[in-house]
Subunit: 253 residues, 2 copies
Amino acid sequence: MRNIKLTIQYKGTNYCGWQIQNRVKKTSSRNEKTIQGEIERVLKKVLKEKVKLIGACRTDSGVHALSQVANFKTKSNLHIDNIHRALNSLLPKDIAIKSIKEEKEDFHSRFDAKGKIYQYKILNLSTKDVFENDYAWRIIFDLNRKKIEQAARHIIGRHNFSSFSSAGSKRKNVICDIKRIDIRKKRDIYIVEVEGDRFLYRMVRNIVGTLVEIGRGRFTPRDIKRVLSKRDRRFAGPCAPASGLILQRVMYN
Amino acid sequence: MRNIKLTIQYKGTNYCGWQIQNRVKKTSSRNEKTIQGEIERVLKKVLKEKVKLIGACRTDSGVHALSQVANFKTKSNLHIDNIHRALNSLLPKDIAIKSIKEEKEDFHSRFDAKGKIYQYKILNLSTKDVFENDYAWRIIFDLNRKKIEQAARHIIGRHNFSSFSSAGSKRKNVICDIKRIDIRKKRDIYIVEVEGDRFLYRMVRNIVGTLVEIGRGRFTPRDIKRVLSKRDRRFAGPCAPASGLILQRVMYN
């Protein structure tokens, strides 16, 4: 069996996230397409066999990826470049395979990941902006950059992140090691870049929601330490919208 | 009568350009919404009267605007800030009014314009890119930046631009004064920025199409002088796709 690794870029706006939904059928007008589902569908056409795609991260509905990683096993002997070309021509325009590579047999995109980098984009602007609509959270109140930076520093390190994990998570291990948080600002745009060994469900969005509360003066920068120590989601700020989040990179050894 | 000036931002992907189409009714599945049409429809709701919106440029289907300018006359005595807020909340998410201003009675967004700046984005990349899809022309061949820059220099100045004007134009005056063309490159992205007093129909896209032919080695940089002197559209390169073009600014005294 060949083990093939894909590096995938996608615009998440029109998808129900990465993972195929195993829900009971229901009457719903909602578009239930997923990134994993679309790629598996196309892989089946190209390889003439059904394969299971394993993704490094289960991004939520509306979240984007600059560089998601996934792998699948196949008996097909199609040349790797032909698989690459066929996937990109058959996939919808908002999903792209940026690179493809043969991996050793035991490579596992999720278990082998050593860390991840996410970026969250905030547009601090009072008027509507058509180009950042799908890619940023627009905040109309003035944000205090210094306070956001001060607060972010308290997040760095190895902590119990229960306070920043949304309900719906089944993870027992709630300890994560946040290596860095960078806050960059260019004109009206803030970029919050977070690197960690692992992340809990909606953790980045809950952290950003809390940083914004601090930036607009509702919490103080030191409050974030208190929130962390409570180990209870109810003490943190709101969950920032999905559109601002992008999975930037998955790291391996 | 009040004369009100709007500065408008839009993503042109889902519109048939700026101008309301005065076509004979026909059975068509194509979306025939226009930017002008959408704004006039919303203005009628807000002002309780039908107004005629005059735009500075008639951008084509799929072309974007960072800053289009338009004006309309109204008898309404609604406060300008209320008109602004109402427009932005009622307009679709891909059209935004960035600013609104009372102008003197004889201001005319098209006749008073002293110049325009357009940007064209080229993505020089062999693989698909989901984020630049609607905003750039993807060229998979290696482009020679130096040759493009050399060729662009020959465009600057006051010339007869017939060779770069697509059929469908009714303009008799084919003389334009191009003040500058800047070619910027950042990673895989080229930005061609053109400033001129006026532009003929599809002129920027025809110039960019020709520059790309030169960049990939089909024409030489000096050929662009020959093309200009022919005053015949058939001698220039192909028309670059609409998606890469954005109206950056309209200038007034």
